[in-house]
Amino acid sequence: MSRVLMLIAIAFGNALRGIRRASTTSLLAVLTIAVVLVLVGSAALLVENMSGLLDEFGAELQVTAYLEPGLPAEAQRELAERVGSAPGVEAVLLVDEAAALARFERIAGGAELLAGLEENPLPASIEVRLRADARTAESLAVLTDSLEGLPGIAELAQGQEWIEGYARAVALARGIATGIGIVLGLAALLIVANTIRLAVYARRDELDILALVGASRTFVRVPFLLEGTIQGLLGGLVALLVVWGAYELLLPQVRFGLELVLGRAELHFFTTVESVRLVLAGAGLGLLGSMTALVGAGSET
């Protein structure tokens, strides 16, 4: 039992010594993992904030229910409440005839158009904002079905095309993000595996000599695996710091640019959980990388 503990202690000692001594190879491996994870991290941050913006954008999509003319204000409010409790609805806004007129007059040329009319021709309406998960063609169909039956509603301006376009844009963005994720992930794994493999290759003597003095495969390999994991962890930490630094540095400019173009810019950094995940991804890459490196080295030993 104490032999086993001793062997574990020796393995850890060897791993740490490996990192300290083979400083050139270790440093290069850590640096490469860090660079790779900076790419992965930036891409993740970009995609996440993009999808955040997409969400906000989607919040503007709405269904407008035009009400029958002459409906009393009381009935309009009741109707609005009922609509508010329909499936997929996030919020409703009641726009009565006067408000609709005021709005129309604010549109360029609108006032002139209506100048000749004695009576307000604009109907009251209820604007329905959809929940994020309900911004799909299917949910919309369910909603409109349930609204169409309500008395007092004259017509639904569904924005069907808009919603479908939006849903497709979201799907496309998600597809692109997934594609980038897969490509970057594979690239990261390949690069890290290659790097650790080269680092192990530079120390192939060590593998040989350990085998010659009767070290078991486990004794030889575990320190290298630990070393790779620790390198990955360090690389992940460095990457997190770099991405965070870049984020803090670039935030003002990017926010300014986005506000100009989109009118708003709710940007945010990784949450703690996401940050930890990035660092752990580094450790995982390091472990996987050193595993593949040793698979190759096995044939030579």
């Binding site: 086993v4 001793m6 020796i10 001594r21 010659l212 003095v213 009767g214 070290a215 495969r217």
Partner: protein
């Protein structure tokens, strides 16, 4: 230790060892000699399972090395100490750590290991160099570190390939005495050497190889009988 009709050929038609049969008893001391390229190192590599024989069977410590599985090799090697012709020291570890390797692989507690390594280094005259790296040692010093590593875990078999090739005559005697004393404690020893003075001095059994064949097997002056190792 027994070899039955062992041959080793690295290239078709050329034999590094050819039909070698021999027996070495437990605790026996054997000098292996012969011209450059005769097959001395190859013979040791076969015993050590660093190479597989092309033909024949090799029995070492009760195991048939010719058919040993990769998983069983480490256990065998831990019972065999080896001094390689090119030392095979790890350049990025200190002398102490290099010697301790042989104890680390069997999980010896750190405190005990350090004490034994210190004693071993003392007996090869290098205790003051234990925190240095092999690259900063002279040829003869590296050779002694290699021997220390081979002996520190009191192996049942010691294979020493030219262990005094880089040592001056006085040190050679010291080191050989160390090896002989290990053998009197029961370790089976095979020493490859070109130094005829050494062979004459100790009067042990001499195996002479030429072109991969045993051409001479001269018994020891005072033969000690034991079981086959």
């Amino acid at each position: 230790m027994r070899l039955y009709h062992v041959s080793k050929s690295y290239m078709a038609g050329q034999y590094a060892l050819h039909d070698v049969s021999l027996e070495v008893r437990r605790g026996e001391f054997v000098f292996l000699t012969g011209p450059s390229g005769a097959g001395k190192t190859t013979l040791m590599e076969l015993i050590f399972a660093a190479e597989q024989p092309s033909e024949g069977q090799i029995l070492v410590l009760g195991r048939n090395v010719a058919r040993i599985g990769a998983g069983a090799i480490p256990a065998l090697r831990r019972r065999v100490g080896v001094v390689f012709q090119d030392f095979k020291l790890l350049q990025d570890r200190t002398v102490e750590e290099n010697v301790r390797l042989a104890l680390d692989v069997i999980g010896t507690p750190r405190r005990e290991a350090r004490a034994r390594v210190f004693q071993m280094l003392k007996s090869v005259g290098l205790q003051h160099r234990r925190f240095h790296h092999p690259l900063s040692l002279s040829g003869g010093e590296q050779q002694r570190v290699a021997l220390a590593r081979a002996l520190v875990n009191e192996p049942e078999i010691l294979l020493a390939d030219e262990p005094t090739g880089n040592l001056d005559p006085e040190l050679t005697i010291e080191i050989m005495d160390l090896i002989v004393s290990a053998s009197t404690r029961g370790t089976t020893v095979i020493v490859a050497t070109h130094d005829h003075g050494l062979i004459d001095r100790y009067g042990k059994r001499v195996l002479r190889l030429e072109n991969g064949r045993v051409v001479e097997d001269h018994p020891a002056a005072s033969s000690s009988i034991g079981a086959s190792a």
